[in-house]
Amino acid sequence: MAGAIEGSVEGTITREIPPMEGLDDDLCLRRLQAGDSAALGELFERYHRALFQFFTRLGEAHADDLAQEVFVRVLKYGHSYRPGTRVRTWLYTIARNVRHTHRHRQRAEVAWDEVYAPSYSPPDEADANQQRRYLALALGRLPEDKRELLVLCRYQELDYAEVATLLGCSVGAVKVRVHRAVRELRQQYFELTQGGSL
């Protein structure tokens, strides 16, 4: 496979390298390291939506800018990727760093009920919309670490081992924390709705 990557540097991608769609993330990134910028486009297609939604769900007003910054950093620091590492985990590590940097620069967050603003629904769905609105507000009231944990585990399709790597803790700790976060979410919802339950 190393030979194939070297071939891409010499500009013979189409004959010697399989199409990008067929490559797993690891090979894609190795091609990027070898100087094939098309690999960045492929990683972008695979992950930009998930990263955009990751930032949006965490209340970032500039989710599109932040998602873009992740890929700029992938190009910039791609050499630091170690083959065999899960690319998805590596990308989320970069995404968390991008967000950390951004939050030090400015704190422009979207209101939580706007992040999850329900689209127009017929009147008989009004109750469900109201429940979603309160749930979104409850999520926004969680401490930052619990909110991020729930977003990573519930929406980003990361398994517990990946989340554990990201957060620097054990898989068992992730499971305990995610259950505690759900409990606190219920409590926040209860307080917001003055006694309501999901």
Binding site: L40, G41, F44, E45, H48, R49, F52, Q53, T56, R57, A61, H62, A63, D64, D65, A67, Q68, E69, F71, V72, L75, K76, A108, E109, V110, A111, D113, E114, V115, Y116, A117, A128, Q131, R132, L135, A136, L139, L150, C153, R154, Y155, D159, Y160, V174, K175, V178, H179, V182, R183, L185, R186, Y189, Q194, S197, L198
Partner: protein
């Protein structure tokens, strides 16, 4: 270990669909009997109904443009900070000119004032017109951060400028981003501007409690009949969340 502690340990695995059949069967039976643990399960499922928007279609093209830019510039000035950079440049030039003007005035005999004053007025007028055009342009952009910058810059335009005021009202009533709308409230209600009527009108377009509360804060203490009527209605209506109703009642008492 109690049954609920066992359920707490199993639930995260079941949310991944990775629970072996015996544990899965035990958990199902427990959830049927224990409302507290069943509520955990319900909360996890309810989270799945919270959907968010999609990225803008032009994101890939923007990435290409960002990568094509000189690396140092792209790293130092992310896109959303470009308006800020431009404003800082203008400020620096203005400070330089002012310092030069002061130095000239301090070191040279006073020159006849009238011609320079009229030139200054003409220059200032041009500057205001330029700022107005820039603000109106920024407010029409697709990026929320750019529109936010436009709202902030609008405070450099006199508050009686009809075009900018109208544009700010449209932002307050229609902008999808609550942060932009919140900034528009501040820009419209700055000292010296009579915005009470416009804020009352704009309230009816708002669905975000944050924006509703901000409007109540600005209307607090207003003696205008439409504003007081709105505060009274909101404080009584169950169509609004409790926080908004309470803020309306507070505003009415000011």
């Amino acid at each position: 270990m109690t049954a609920c502690e066992r359920a707490a340990a199993l639930l995260p695995e079941s949310w991944r669909g990775a629970l072996p059949a015996p544990d899965s069967n035990w958990l199902a039976a427990h959830l049927a009997a224990c409302s507290d643990c069943a509520a955990d399960e319900a909360a996890w499922r309810a989270l799945g109904a919270l959907t968010v928007g999609e990225p803008a279609p032009g994101l890939r093209a923007r990435l290409g443009a960002a990568l094509a830019a000189p690396p140092a510039r792209a790293a130092v000035w992310p896109r959303w900070r470009l308006p800020l950079a431009a404003a800082a440049s203008v400020l620096l030039v203005a400070l330089g000119l002012a310092a030069g003007w002061w130095w000239r005035g301090a070191s040279l005999p006073a020159a006849p004032a009238a011609p320079d004053t009229s030139a200054q007025i003409a220059s200032l007028r041009r500057e205001v017109e330029t700022t107005q055009r820039a603000v109106l342009s920024l407010l029409r952009q697709s990026s929320p951060s750019t529109r936010l910058q436009g709202v902030v810059d609008s405070t450099n335009v006199p508050s009686d400028d009809g075009a900018v005021r109208q544009a700010l009202l449209e932002v307050l009533e229609n902008d999808p981003n609550p942060n932009v709308r919140l900034a528009a409230i501040d820009a419209l209600a700055r000292p010296g501007a009579d915005a009470s009527g416009a804020l009352v009108e704009a309230f009816h377009y708002q669905s975000s409690p944050l924006v509703q509360i901000a409007l109540m804060d600005h209307l607090a203490g207003s003696g205008a009949a439409p504003a007081r009527a709105l505060m009274h209605t909101v404080s009584q209506s169950r169509a609004f969340v409790p926080e908004v109703r309470q803020r309306a009642a507070w505003a009415l008492r000011q």
